[in-house]
Subunit: 351 residues, 2 copies
Amino acid sequence: MADQVTLRDVAQLAGVSVATASRALSGAVGRTVRADLRARVLDAAGMLNYSPNAAAQAMVRGSTSTVALVVHDIADPYAAAVAAGVMATAARRGLMVTVAATGSDPEVEVRHVEMLRRQRARAVILGGSRTADPFVQQRLDLELSGILADGGSVASIGQDTLPVHTVRIDNAGGARSLATSLVGLGYRRFAVLTGPESWLTSEDRLTGFQAGVEAAGAALAPESVMSTQFSRDGGYVAMAEMLDRDPGAIADVDAVFAVSDVMAVGAMAALRDRGHHIPGDVAVAGFDDIGMLRDVRPALTTVRLPLERIGSRALELALDLRPAEAEDRATPVVETVTGEVVVRASTPGRN
Amino acid sequence: MADQVTLRDVAQLAGVSVATASRALSGAVGRTVRADLRARVLDAAGMLNYSPNAAAQAMVRGSTSTVALVVHDIADPYAAAVAAGVMATAARRGLMVTVAATGSDPEVEVRHVEMLRRQRARAVILGGSRTADPFVQQRLDLELSGILADGGSVASIGQDTLPVHTVRIDNAGGARSLATSLVGLGYRRFAVLTGPESWLTSEDRLTGFQAGVEAAGAALAPESVMSTQFSRDGGYVAMAEMLDRDPGAIADVDAVFAVSDVMAVGAMAALRDRGHHIPGDVAVAGFDDIGMLRDVRPALTTVRLPLERIGSRALELALDLRPAEAEDRATPVVETVTGEVVVRASTPGRN
DNA sequence: GTGAAAGCGCTAACAT
DNA sequence: ATGTTAGCGCTTTCAC
């Protein structure tokens, strides 16, 4: 491994002390270094292709220029959109973003947060759905309080279950509004494809939808709710299973709500593969309004979430609302984002 | 900012020296620390919720546990898939991934690489298309050689235009095969929607397609090639423009090749909005085989690229084939990935 | 097996 | 305005 070019080398070549070299390069507030010296330093740095060592700077400054984002799977367009928002805001502030994927394993999430804590990331954004596992939760809490104690900050996206700044997504409210809209369009008999039960995001969407349906005087039979993976294939498999379990049952359903657009698309494929026409035979609705899915036909009725915005906001909350004093750990701020129902061709009026 | 818990605190609480504490925690190969002392240290660390400072470790070890990925836009499913591959391999090796988005601006790319160099990332993966700008290219070269000089490594994805390990994507070959397939299906008169001209990925796909068309005895008129943004909306706008420019011209085209799936989807929407039926009136083909687009109808004919695999491989090349000696900078390895033509319903046989 | 001490590259007092 | 020097938190010789 070649010897790195250090500030000492630059200073030497420029014929100044390391202090002067540092001042010339890091250019503190007042230009406290003579123009000709500064120029010599800059030249020397250029000659040597010098690059300051961020780790060394972090040591002495006591803070890094890195933030972190934890998601389930970056290939999921939901996570990718959030990441784009976080990265845009980070770039605007000259920060780099470390992204960690958990594969939806809370255990892995904790390990990643632990690594991110070691990096002393200025902020850690928890972008994946919270789960209900109390044991892992406790270890996570420990890491998070450690981050706070070290002067970092934390923000969470989705559920407001952690004592940190949160961009809360009103999943229940959005799903409820969706249900209301669908009932308004004339739908009465629903089936729901939901995610893993421990996963709060899908649970909230399920219960919200249920509430909306019931408020409208309709009902959601337990056997018409199917739990599956939070993915396209999960949607496909669950829909297929539901259809195969009782081929006649679908005749009793006039709309399927999949708790995410990605799942909805899978469900549509399963429906089609079994000869059902959408929306003629059965309507389908999703949640999220994933941009990349805008062109599936029939266009998907869904609940729009400003995902990029949510990512940006989460970072802003973390960065701008850092706990004031060590002892007076500032009260976490919770900002709620409500989705907007977007009715499209997949759920035409049934009047 | 609260005082961080340092190794000194842990050692003190455990009643040992920092050296012993370090050995107990970092646990070198041979367990050279007595069991009871190690236990005391571990306990103390637990009590204090201690987290080693990665920057300090990096300083003394001379290497970080971070790798970096540079892409145009993480929300683009192409980049997201590559990122998923990089992150999976990184996780397997206990490394974190810093992701930087350039917004397709070569200038921004250079700045990000510069920042990543400061972080002393072990490897930097350039995941975006190379461009033809010689000036920026030169500054990029400087940063890259700096990374190498500092003991880091670099890998590039796409074009083999940089003196670094490369997962070369045979864009030209894939596009050529696609053209051959389309001609085989009976198509003769093509229109092409391509990306920015300085962008090598789209240029290669265009010229490859052109070569394939010509090899088959057909031709591609210059006016039937339209340059646009490498995005869904770019595809839409370009297609719309082409249709509006000369509403009759489309009658002379029996297949549109968009140089990416994402653009193809936009093109399909524009075609439909103007009343053209796909594939009845005109066929459409793309490139990449983006999984999330699997469910658009008609299913898109395309060239499949193993994007995740490509990401993984790029990181493996960078990590496992580091330059041996400073002076003997190892010859960069170039691995070529060839796409596979996948014919689907958007280009039925015209026989 | 354990501890003392020397740095890693840099910035920020503190002198001058 | 510039140089000297003391660390930042950690690992790793080097003695014992």
